[in-house]
Amino acid sequence: MVDPSLLNYVLPVVLGVYGLAYSIYSIVVLRGPTVPDMVLALDVMTVDLIIIYLLIALYYGSPMLAIGAIPLASWILLLDFVVAKYLLEVRKK
């Protein structure tokens, strides 16, 4: 078995890079330029958020923090589906 204190070398690097990617995606979500771009960026942000959730759960040793990961993963498809329906039915030119 590997000592969990070794995580202190891996987690700051990984969380830092994921945090940077997350902030860049949030710029795209806020700026656009179109609705599909925003939704696509939100999808990838959600995937990053799942990993950040699980890393924090592992760091604090609490499985309760990890509960949100599976609904978040399901949310990706649901969001795309709802926005696609909206685009096709409401905003079709």
Binding site: V2, L54, I70, A73
Partner: protein
């Protein structure tokens, strides 16, 4: 011995996935239109998400932590990875189809539109 191997493999996958996620994010900023940004979305979600979740699952298995925590996080990571593998490409496809058909995102520069020629617009 196998624990050290799992730890090294999991950490490497996690770091690779973080870098791929950053590359995908930069691609989102740099690419010109929605249909080209779909490529960087794939890099971000499959490279930056699924690799990382599988790496996290392997990393968790190798650690000396209580069993309930280890197997819980392993299970959640694998199930989330499976859901992302299913949901992300499907969602991108649905979204790009809707963006093309509704005219919300214009595919420019456009050299040849095979969908229009085939009447599948």
């Amino acid at each position: 011995m196998i624990d050290v191997l799992l730890f090294v493999l999991g950490s490497s996958l996690l770091v690779l996935s973080a870098v791929l996620s950053l590359i995908g994010a930069v691609g989102f900023l740099r690419f010109r239109n929605f249909f080209i940004r779909l490529h960087s979305a794939t890099v971000g979600s499959i490279g930056g998400g699924v690799y990382g979740l599988v790496g996290l699952a392997l990393l968790t298995l190798s650690l000396d932590v209580p069993g309930y925590l280890k197997y819980y996080i392993f299970g959640v990571a694998i199930v989330s990875a499976a859901l992302v593998v299913f949901a992300s490409p499907t969602g991108s496809h649905i979204l790009s189809r809707a963006a093309y058909r509704s005219g919300e995102a214009a595919p420019r520069p456009l050299i040849k539109d095979k969908l229009k020629e085939a009447g599948l617009e």
